[in-house]
Symmetry: C2
Subunit: 320 residues, 2 copies
Amino acid sequence: MMTEITVQKLDTEQFIAEKVAEIKDAVGRGTAINALSGGVDSSTVTMLGHRALGKQLRTVFIENGLMREGESDQVVSLFRKLGVTVEVIDARDEFFAALKGITDPEEKREAITQTFYRNVFGRIVRESGAKCLLQGTILTDVDETVAGIKRQHNVFAQLGIDPQEAFGYRILEPLIQLRKDGVRKVGKALGLPSELFDRIPFPGPAPSARVIGEVTRERVATVRRATAVVERLLKGSGAFQYMAILHEDRVTGMRDGKRDFGHQIEVRCWDSIDARTATPTRLSFEILENLAREITRDVPGVVSVTYNIAPKPPSTIEAV
Amino acid sequence: MMTEITVQKLDTEQFIAEKVAEIKDAVGRGTAINALSGGVDSSTVTMLGHRALGKQLRTVFIENGLMREGESDQVVSLFRKLGVTVEVIDARDEFFAALKGITDPEEKREAITQTFYRNVFGRIVRESGAKCLLQGTILTDVDETVAGIKRQHNVFAQLGIDPQEAFGYRILEPLIQLRKDGVRKVGKALGLPSELFDRIPFPGPAPSARVIGEVTRERVATVRRATAVVERLLKGSGAFQYMAILHEDRVTGMRDGKRDFGHQIEVRCWDSIDARTATPTRLSFEILENLAREITRDVPGVVSVTYNIAPKPPSTIEAV
């Protein structure tokens, strides 16, 4: 059932027709639900589900307060153009409450995962009456779970659905035979616009990794603004990935001749083929100086900007 | 009495002869004491005092554990060549005890100042029987005190000497009419070697500014090792000043394929005329990559290296 379909063997029209039929068959006259993050996998699943089910599919976008500026608006308007209605669930209060006081990176990830599955999406699923869940799991996720890189998740347990009472619930994973390149090909065939594929990876809970220390609304707003500058200035760099990181350490700066104890943003920009090893992009000093000038000018409280110069290994791509 | 002697008007031979006579006159048959830091001002005062008093002057170097690697040995051997005996006082335990648990930059500076004057040097002065203290105060220090940039210090209070009982104590400040350029000229005339003048400024308690967060022996050792790499690789850069800063934030790295939660070193290298404004030196990426490679290789626990790209203002030269 999990036989790999390589991108060479993949006949997108046939694949789409088969998966649409399978989804229709599974849902019947009921309803299905899925969570859209705006990434390639969940976007492709949304399009497949929409083609199979139309109004029988409820697609939710959970606004966790941790994404790029304007991310939910962009995703909603992108899917509206494709005829798909996306329901935005404002769960910012719940996420920030769950993150309050937590500084350990692992605990932050865990708080985000728990809040997403159990508190927010789990509640929506339980209350929706939908018995079918569409998920964007791909073959690489399965491999990584088997290899122990990702933790094995019991989706029902995560959603707070008692397995004893779970009879009748179905998880549909139509992309599970594909790898990333195959998903992109299917997504394009389903009409997803190129802007969705061109975006630099920005993992959902990224600010928990991009904010060292406690994740608060204010600190997320700071790293978001810095991210906007970095993405604007490095868009043409050809780099594999770039990011802004807000440090917890405070440093001294000066504004209007006065001492100002402020924040530091670290910029990382990576050259890499597969993220397993990576080297800092040799940006010109004109670009580095523009980054520093625009970040210190546009992001309140930031007085210092650094550029990462260490490769992976011994560094890693994300800071925490 | 504090009439400025500009470097143009300064006749070093005449100046030295006058100051030697003044010091001899003030000390008479008693003894004098001074603290040598290895900087230009205190080194010049040491040479003046030695010329005036010979064995009647006791010169101490207080090892606070916060200086460059091998700093006390270098200073002692440099002065030995000039015929001056320097007594090293190992006060590392007292300084680290005073710094324990302190993370606020102002409190760190205060702890260092207090420990230096009241606990260590104060005790030496009180126990020495010397009634004359030689200090390397220069005219710029006086100006900055008047302007409110530096705090006015009551030296006796700092040393823990009761002003009521202080009758007979004298503070001699033979350089108080000079600015830095004049001091350098006098120092050279007194035989101080050029290596002492060529050194990049390294303020005595620098590691309290170069270690963000608590200053411990281990953390000072880390920033010292990184400083040694930075000074070696940037010696030929022609930059105004360069430094290594140990951050308190921990970041993720990897060693031998395993996750390693480690330290980050920030390198700053400044182009500047007078330190009032400064811009990061446009170092080549070859140099930046060498810095990162050697620091992560040679300094235990460091997995990440950044380079400062923000100018002063809004940044400052030191991080805290």
